[in-house]
Homo-oligomer: 232 residues x 2
């Protein structure tokens, strides 16, 4: 990158977008792209059972011409405590929408969004990016404590205290959660309106070896119901 | 580990201790050990220039008979922005105590303690540990925003909102910062009183290839001054 190009680019506002390669984060990236930010996609692999999402994330990041795509591995599996990282725990299958909406599921990864946002914060500060996008929503996932609006607002307050930028020059970091109050069908409709490549996204918690979704985990059931509703 | 032993141990309170292998975190571990907790040491490597600290941390963790020592690598170097992770930036050498106490130094790692505490939180929740120990202190490092008491208290509030335990059953997590208001000499005196193996610890930001401290970075200067004062 030449120096003059760098100077021009500095004037564009930067956004760090957490990109898993699923429906929600892809729609988030599409939305951030539509606002004209210089985009930095951050994919965090955390000892999941599958790596197919990373491939999807790379393809999607390229599609949006992100300035940089960082993929970090964090071995949350070392801590256990979740069906998504602990091979001895089972991913729940075939649950009703009703049972999904009650309590915190076994697929909850301890403090996941706190870890994700803190890494996004680290990158945002190094880049002096004023925006972080995260595709959390709490209608479908009411059971995940770290998808709730109160958590996000609290993290924003923490960011101000935690960083050199926040302390020295009142660096203003906004955490964008545009999907917070949307259901899956609404997210899909938004993604389609933005021409996001939703076909490339993966949602399954427990895909088969060839990457084919299981069709029965909470994420598959919610995704499929969302597409049905969006098409209906 | 036998099942019966596991049952007995459950009754002991658990503490996750952030252990870098330096003076401060080693004294912190010694203090947590003196309180009788079942200990879980967490060493986070973040793309530092040197790996000698990890070796020191392993030796110290073994010395205290920790139940488990987890060493995770997080590639904060991918984000840049600090002389500790970015090879193109220089570690400041030979600074006066006065200049050290003004402003945020180049060795500041963006959002480091937010990342560290969020990972400690993830493990603490998975373990149902009610305690995290972190050896931050803000007298010598007034320039690091994420070493200040206000930051720590804000993180404690976040932890309650961020976790299943905090939401479902009022899991009470306490973040212990026993060194918060101590200078180096005071920390060294405390470590000695607790018979912590301070000789094994490493502080240097920029050691030579054989692990020998440079003697001139802020961390070396503060350490040496601390030992002089403690001995004086």
């Amino acid at each position: 990158m030449g120096k003059s190009k760098s100077r021009v680019r500095q004037s564009r506002e930067r956004a760090v977008v957490l990109l898993s390669g699923g429906l929600d984060s892809t729609t988030c990236l599409a939305l951030a792209a539509s606002k004209g930010y210089e985009l930095y996609a951050l994919t965090l692999r955390y000892g999941q059972r599958h790596q197919a999402e990373l491939k999807a994330a790379k393809r999607i990041a390229r599609h949006y011409g992100v300035k940089r795509h960082a993929a970090l591995h964090i071995d949350l599996a070392a801590f256990g405590g979740s069906a998504l990282t602990d091979k001895t725990m089972k991913v729940p299958k075939g649950r009703s929408m009703r049972s999904m909406s009650h309590g915190i599921p076994a697929t909850y990864v301890p403090a996941r969004n706190t870890v994700f946002l803190s890494l996004a914060l680290a990158w945002a500060e190094a880049l002096r990016a004023g925006h972080i996008y995260i595709g959390v929503n709490f209608l479908d996932y009411s059971g995940y404590p770290d998808c709730r609006p109160a958590f996000i607002r609290q993290f924003e307050r923490l960011a101000k205290l935690a960083t050199k930028g926040g302390v020295e020059n009142n660096w203003d970091l906004k955490i964008h959660t545009p999907l917070l109050r949307m259901g899956k069908a609404e997210i899909i409709r938004l993604g389609r309106r933005l021409k996001a490549p939703l076909d490339w996204t993966l949602s399954c918690y427990d895909p088969k070896a060839n990457g084919i979704p299981c069709g029965q985990c909470d994420a598959c059931l919610l995704r499929n119901k969302g597409f049905q509703e969006a098409d209906g």
